[in-house]
């Protein structure tokens, strides 16, 4: 396998809440290699977001080991190892699209010209060229989500962590964005961690699909996709695609049976 980027071994995370401890992650072991596109799928509450947040250093595991680029997640974050895309676009309403994209660049201290150059480049990458001067409320939900992806791409981190980025969008827009995301991934060779609830989306995008199940949150199956890197939208009608989708569905069912 290619160079290891993310390495989780026996990861445990228990939240102490008022209603007692919540075992969000239990014994999660997973390695993600450079250039992998890994999807996380599983019922609500199985710890997908929590795992992604651990990788991002936003949550501290209570057990096990986790390294990102050979560092702790905190160190990796300070080295700008990843861009994070949240479920809600979360653009600042008082900033134009271009200024929103420049937000991380301002914080990281890029020069003005460099900010300009990078904002132009990533806005073009997500097909938002010419919308830089608009305010978020002037854009559709899909465009806003693309802008938030541009924002995560702006500082050229090697890892892209995306938590249900297209969850709130309609099917057609979603298909379109999926296509664009794949093209972007192919061009930039980033490592992507992607949370979704949609089996077709997971299968269409990923090189690997991680199936999780809840209470306690854990990995129940990891499915390597045999699909080629080049994936037109109609690959979803091929037997190979349907076969992978079937295996994911089986994996999800098995998790549920264990649960019940």
């Amino acid at each position: 396998m290619n160079e290891t980027i993310i390495d989780a071994q026996g990861l445990d995370l228990t939240f102490q809440t008022n209603d007692g401890p919540v075992h969000a992650l239990k014994d999660v072991s997973l390695t993600i290699g450079k250039g992998d596109f890994v999807s996380f799928i599983g019922p609500s509450g199985c710890g997908k977001t929590t795992f992604l947040r651990c990788i991002a250093g936003l949550e501290t595991p209570t057990g096990g080991s986790l390294s990102v680029n050979g560092m702790t997640p905190d160190e990796a974050r300070r080295k700008r190892a990843y861009g994070y895309v949240f479920q809600a676009a979360g653009l600042y309403p008082w900033r134009t699209i271009a200024k929103n994209v420049k937000l991380p660049l301002e914080i990281m201290g890029f020069s003005r010209e460099e900010q300009e150059r990078r904002a132009d480049r990533v806005l073009e990458l997500v097909d938002l060229k010419g919308f830089g001067a608009k305010y978020p409320w002037q854009l559709s939900g899909g465009m806003q989500q693309r802008a938030s992806i541009a924002r995560a791409l702006a500082f050229d981190a090697g890892i892209l962590l995306m938590d249900e980025p297209f969850g709130a969008l309609d099917e057609i827009v979603r298909d379109h964005l999926n296509e664009q995301l794949l093209a972007l991934w192919a061009r930039t060779e980033k490592t992507i961690g992607f949370v979704t609830h949609s089996i077709p989306e997971a299968v269409y995008l990923s090189t690997r699909i991680v199936v999780m199940s809840p209470r306690p949150g854990r990995i129940t199956d990891v499915i390597e996709s045999p699909l080629p890197k080049e994936r037109p939208l109609d690959i979803r009608d091929t037997p190979e695609f349907l076969d992978v989708a079937h295996r994911v569905r089986e994996g999800l069912r098995a998790g549920h049976a264990y649960d019940g």
């Binding site: 974050r77 994070y84 949240f86 479920q87 809600a88 600042y92 008082w94 914080i107 990281m108 409320w137």
Partner: protein, 310 residues
């Protein structure tokens, strides 16, 4: 201008009610006056009239109702009388070049306005600083917030004379400083509450986003918390400036004050010139309206420039 219609409707309703109220409020005074000038009224003596309701008095002396609208010292002056008095003590004096004379309401309004603005600036600064401290420190949140709330339960009319006495004990000349302190005392609270809310407005995910950039605390404050709080700030400022004005006027009420709208109200009361009281009241109301409108305008412009409003 669509906003003007409802405002004008309410205004018309208020004026109508006001006019209607003048007759019952002033009928006794009108009858006393008529009796003294030798005209026949029923009942004939003030003593006898005392137990009769104003409605009966009006029904029994329909001829005197008109006089209730023209008294020199009415209990309730008509809007015209108040407007006339206001004009006499402002515009007319200004036309004669005596806008800053001690008899001019413009002079008194200026005195009140100065303390109001000082109190507003002071209160706003304190409110914002307090809010920042509360948002950034749990200890301050737990210790300062209860006191801030308690401070607002103390009636300002009880506190104002104490502040005035204290400040003169400390050798501070004049009323300007204590008045500004009283105004600030009323103003800081809405600003504090609004700013705490505004600085806490960003969603956890927005804070997380900045954390993924390893943003510093100062950057989080400047790039996220502060801009998020702007709409809240303006809402509080509008309440705050009105509170400052009330505080200043309350500070002008205790005996000893000779200038300011509050002093005019008090003096009008002592000298039995209701028109002066009403004119000062109206001037205060107009000033409050103007200040709030100005802030509202500033809010619109700011938010528009920030791109936050369509």
């Amino acid at each position: 201008m669509r906003a003007a219609l409802p405002v004008l409707t309410v205004l018309a309703a208020i004026l109508l009610l006001w006019y209607l109220a003048v007759a019952p409020m002033n009928i006794r005074g009108a009858l006393d006056l008529a009796e003294r000038s030798g005209r026949a009224v029923t009942p004939e003596t003030p003593l006898a009239r005392q137990d009769v309701s104003v409605w009966r008095l009006m029904a029994q002396n329909p001829g005197q109702i008109a006089a209730a609208y023209e008294l020199d010292r009415p209990r309730l002056p008509t809007p015209q009388q108040v407007g006339g008095e206001l004009w006499k003590t402002t515009g007319e004096m200004a036309l004669r070049g005596r806008a800053m004379s001690k008899r001019s309401l413009i002079y008194h309004a200026a005195v009140t306005l100065r303390s109001t603005l000082w109190g507003f600036v002071l209160g706003t600064a304190l409110g914002i600083l307090g809010a920042v401290a509360i948002v950034y420190s749990r200890v301050v949140d737990m210790s300062l917030m209860p006191w801030a709330i308690i401070s607002q339960t103390i009636p300002i009319v009880a506190l104002a004379p104490m502040i005035i006495v204290l400040s003169s004990q400390l050798g501070i000349e004049g009323r300007g400083v204590p008045k500004a302190i009283i105004a600030a005392y009323l103003c800081y609270f809405p600003v504090l509450v609004g700013m705490v809310k505004g600085l806490r407005a960003p969603a956890p995910s927005q804070l997380d986003l900045l954390q993924t950039y390893s943003a510093s605390g100062l950057q989080v404050f400047l790039k996220l918390r502060l801009p998020s709080s702007v709409p809240y700030l303006f809402t509080s400022l509008k309440i705050g400036i009105a509170a400052s004005l009330v505080g200043t006027i309350v500070g002008e009420l205790p005996t000893g004050a000779i200038s300011g709208l509050g002093a005019r109200i008090l003096i009008g009361d002592q000298f039995g010139t209701p028109l002066a009281i009403w004119a000062a009241l109206l001037a205060a109301a107009l000033m409050a309206g103007a200040l709030v409108t100005l802030l509202d305008l500033l809010q619109r412009i700011t938010l528009k420039r920030m791109g936050m409003q369509a």
